[in-house]
């Protein structure tokens, strides 16, 4: 195991990593920007190095600064947390070159998987199910009809040069295909000066489901169940849970096997997440791989009992996985709610400020990961995540009731500071969420319904 780990991150995940280190007897080095000088992890860690001013570009994403801090503090490994440099192949490479162990996949793996289309190609080659579509532009109606026969309906015709919802057309039935194809090409030419289009399966409503995996340096990999992250707002996850409601265990198992196969195919090492879209028939399609620990990792920890950050450290230190697939027996259900310093009433704008009151939920089967405390000043510079409330229950209903209880205990007050607790409580009360039939459009729907009131 390492002697001293530098944590190249801030906020709750920095504290989370420091706790894992401490339990493993590893010394910790915090790095911090001038904005975070009085942060919890700075006090918690055995050492702390100021690496730059507030802007992440000059501090938490500043490779030379972090490498120098590692050297200055005598660290032998670097944990990048999530965000910032966590999936940067250059950073991983520099760490390796400068003699620090990067706690994550090798630089080469990060580079290969960082290119989304490359990652899809590799996963397709590894046999993972992909959303049906035409990888190359379609040139004629005949070609489109041939492709559509494979893709099925509904499908979507997209301009190669399109984006932002323009230059695309959903096709419900084969009868509509020829007209839609011609019109979309015409639109595309008019809009972008490029008439090329391609076809893809259209998922009217989908769930975002992801598989957590762990892989060691010796070709062993295991999956640790699935998380549903369908409660999103503009691709920002608000609520995550495991197991995913409505997805049969057999499907989760298949996804897990696919993720492990995919991980082994690219020599993945460390903790990783395979993201899938799941359609209403519980068919799933590979989307991308997140090569880091994720914000929502605690729900997996709650049901499996596996300390994922400790496993990251062990894997990076060269230990073989001590977990076999049959050791991983998820129990019950876990939910995470992200409490952000944002104002849902004003389009979720961040509301930095000083916390005068900060009383976190507690009690049985409740975990709160946070770096905040009374007196903490939320800086305007970083993401507004204030706390993660995670609960466990023997079943989803119990977990939902427990989460409602826990959110009810959360007291956050400060001049100008707003938070998402009430909004999260509203999600929990929503009948679609309670019954688990919600899809990625739930948050938008809730807002549309609010406005209609």
């Amino acid at each position: 195991m390492f002697r001293r780990v530098l944590i190249a991150n801030r906020g709750e995940i920095a504290l989370r990593v420091a706790r894992a280190c401490r339990e493993l007897g590893v010394e910790t080095v915090a790095v911090y920007s001038t904005e975070d000088a009085d942060s919890a992890v700075v006090r918690y860690a055995d050492q702390a190095v100021r690496i730059g001013p507030g802007p992440a570009r000059r501090s938490y994403s500043n490779i030379p600064a972090i490498i120098e801090a590692a050297r200055l503090s005598g660290a032998d490994a670097i944990h990048p947390g999530y965000g910032f440099l966590s999936e940067d192949p250059d950073f991983a490479e520099v760490c390796e070159a400068e003699g620090f162990v990067f706690i994550g996949p090798p630089a080469s793996v990060l580079a290969r998987l960082g290119d989304k289309s490359d990652a899809r190609a590799q996963m397709a080659a590894a046999g993972l199910p992909m959303l049906p579509g035409t990888p190359e532009p379609v040139e004629s109606v005949e070609e489109a009809e041939a492709a559509a026969a494979n893709i099925g309906f509904p499908l979507i015709i997209k301009a190669v040069a399109g984006g932002g919802g323009r230059g695309m057309r959903i096709v419900e039935t084969p009868e509509d295909l020829a007209d839609a194809f011609a019109q979309t090409r015409a639109d595309a030419l008019a809009l972008f000066g490029d008439g090329r289009v391609y076809l893809e399966r259209y998922l009217r409503s989908a769930r975002h489901v992801e598989i957590q995996i762990l892989a060691d340096q010796y070709g062993n990999a295991v999956s640790l169940g699935a998380r549903d992250c369908s409660v999103q707002r503009r691709r920002q996850k608000l609520v995550e849970e495991t197991p995913p409601p409505g997805v049969p265990a057999s499907v989760v198992e298949e996804m897990g096997k696919d993720a492990v196969r995919g991980a082994l195919a690219v020599d993945y090492v460390g903790a990783g997440t395979f993201e899938f879209l799941v359609d209403d028939e519980n068919r799933y399609y590979f989307m991308e791989i997140n090569c880091r620990i994720q914000v929502e990792h605690p729900v997996t920890e709650m049901v499996t009992g596996v300390d994922l950050v400790a496993e990251q450290l062990r894997i990076a230190a060269g230990e073989p996985l001590s977990l076999r697939q049959e050791d991983i027996v998820p129990r019950g259900a876990a939910i995470e709610c992200r409490v952000n310093a944002e104002d849902p009433a004003r389009g979720f704008i961040p509301t930095p400020g000083r916390l005068e009151r900060f009383h976190t939920p507690a009690g049985p089967f409740v975990r709160v990961d946070t770096h905040a405390e009374p007196g903490y000043r939320i800086p305007p510079t970083y993401d507004p995540l204030l706390a993660k409330v995670i609960v466990w229950g023997p079943d989803r209903d119990t977990a939902i009731r427990r989460m409602a209880r826990a959110l009810g205990e959360f007291q956050i007050e400060g001049p100008g500071v707003r938070n998402t607790v009430d909004f999260l409580s509203r999600v929990l009360r929503d009948e679609r969420f309670r019954t688990g039939v919600h899809r990625t459009n739930l948050v938008d729907t809730l807002f549309a319904e609010s406005e209609a009131d």
């Binding site: 001038t34 190095v49 690496i51």
Partner: protein, 169 residues
């Protein structure tokens, strides 16, 4: 204090200043402790320095801090009457890394204690991963103290030099 700038022969000014400088330095090194005010005048050239009465103690994290006890050396630039402001400031590390006083090993340091600096003048280097980040003075002043030894590691924003600013009036 208002400064009166008189046209003078540059060579004579230089000589006079040298003398004034030596005299002031001698005064300072012989005086028991740091004086509150030093004024040296020679013809048209005069140098006046005044120090605040400060409590001893830690430098604060503010960029401008109370003057340390180390005695600055008096001198003056060309043809001006100057005062040292009542505050000293610090030049801080622009980056975490290793601090070097000279452009390369064995070379002459960029600055030494007592040297005058002007805005933009390089006073040191912080090296981070072979990246040589120059450290520059941001105002007219005199290096009062060099706070970090050559080759030592520094954090971002760590004070490296204490500078007594000179107000060019």
């Amino acid at each position: 204090m208002t400064a009166v700038i008189e046209p003078m022969d540059p060579g004579r000014v230089d000589q006079t200043l040298e003398a004034v400088h030596r005299h002031a330095t001698r005064l300072l090194t012989q005086a028991p402790g740091l004086p509150r005010r030093v004024r040296v005048r020679a013809g048209d050239v005069s140098v006046e320095l005044e120090w605040p009465v400060v409590e001893s103690g830690q430098a604060t994290t503010a960029t401008t801090v109370a003057a340390p006890v180390a005695a600055p050396v008096a001198s003056g630039p060309l043809a001006t009457e100057e005062t040292v402001s009542e505050q000293v400031s610090q030049i801080r590390a622009p980056m975490v890394g290793v601090f070097y006083r000279a452009p390369e090993p064995g070379a002459k340091p960029f600055v030494s204690e007592g040297d005058l600096v002007e805005p933009g003048q390089q006073v040191g280097i912080v090296e981070a991963m072979k990246l040589m980040v120059p450290i520059e003075a941001d105002q007219h002043g005199r290096i009062v103290e060099i706070l970090v030894a050559n080759g030592e590691s520094v954090e971002y924003d760590q004070p490296l030099f204490t500078v007594a600013p000179l107000e060019v009036e």
